[in-house]
Subunit: 191 residues, 2 copies
DNA sequence: TAGATTGTTAATCGATTAACAATC
DNA sequence: TAGATTGTTAATCGATTAACAATC
């Protein structure tokens, strides 16, 4: 909206865009403060700034990527991180040809140096892009040195320390969602 | 669990693994049938079969990928699709060097042939892996020819026809979730 | 001022959890 | 049989929505 030059937006309009009730929009936002103006709505740039702050994306974060495969490359090249103040500081992988090299300016270290080269004071979170059967061991190692947040991609549940936020974003769940709904529609069409 | 040779599992144990109340497990499953045995729990292989069927993953699905970038390659190489009976039938992209070629045995066509070469009777769903600003137009085109399900990756909301299930899986949301929680923890630590 | 829209309280709705009879 | 655990009903809890005074 900001790019489109929209100045002001109402809960009504926001609700329509996101497919939720306008009250929901107002209620949710009011949990964090009063960002709107009665009679007018919300100023787009202000609202964006507030949400950015709520999410903690107004400050800089440092992160490491574990695993230097195709998926990691997607992230390294995506710009989604830079745009959100998320700096990829280091990559860990066990491929001999990559260790000691740089990928897009980010240096690659061997997995065995993980504990040594990650400092939770510096690196706030980790993206775990290793094969599914290695995810748990990586989380264990990261948890042990005190990393407090991680994102992983695997069709399985994992264990993590109490004070570590671990989020899964495997495509499997969404694929299941799609086929579940499609199945229902097809049956409906047939019935 | 099946791989680990576990025969039987209780709602108690499943709840522990997923971090939810055992009642929740039983209630949710009972929406679709009675898959357990009183006094014993659920038989792992049977439960898996039931869930597979509920999700519609017991039948074969055909899908197309729009966009032949790095992300598409992750999917093409991942095996997550084949494992779930999801067959990638065709890829669409506008890179001249790719059109007419095959990627891992899947043929690539130009974007302009999209309407011509996709038949919703054959292709049930689409993975949209194009730059964010092109996602909406792809959804419009797919919706028009009657594709009923799509998965896309972009930090923006889209419009789709009523009868089309569109799921977003952009990494941005999860990154925001992580920084939101981390921020709270850090403030807590400081306070 | 009249019209619009917020922020918030109250009402509704649905989802989660507890409890327990059924039963393996 | 005694112990365990489901499937389901009832109770609780929380989330969503409606309503409206405040006010721009």
């Amino acid at each position: 909206m900001e790019n489109a030059g929209v100045q002001t937006v109402s809960s009504q309009r926001l609700g329509k865009i996101e497919g939720v009730n306008p009250s929901q929009i107002r209620k949710d936002l009011s949990m964090f403060g009063s960002f709107g103006h009665r009679g007018f709505g919300y100023e787009v740039s202000q609202l964006k700034a507030h949400i950015t702050e709520i999410l903690g994306l107004n400050r800089k974060w440092s992160l490491v990527i574990i695993g230097a495969g195709q998926l990691s490359n997607v992230f390294i090249n995506s710009g989604a991180f830079r745009k959100r103040n998320l700096r990829i500081r280091k990559i860990f992988d066990d491929t001999p040809e990559l260790i000691g090299k740089k990928i897009k300016g980010i240096s690659v270290s061997g997995m065995k140096n993980l504990e040594e080269e990650i400092d939770p004071e510096t690196d706030n979170l980790a993206i775990i892009a290793v094969p599914p059967n290695r995810v748990q061991s990586v989380i264990d190692r990261l948890g042990k040195i005190g990393i407090k947040g991680a994102l992983y991609f695997a069709a399985r549940a994992v264990n993590a320390p109490e004070d570590m936020v671990v989020v899964n974003q495997d495509v499997s769940v969404e694929l299941g969602t799609l086929t579940y709904h499609l199945k229902a529609r097809i049956n409906q069409g047939a019935g």
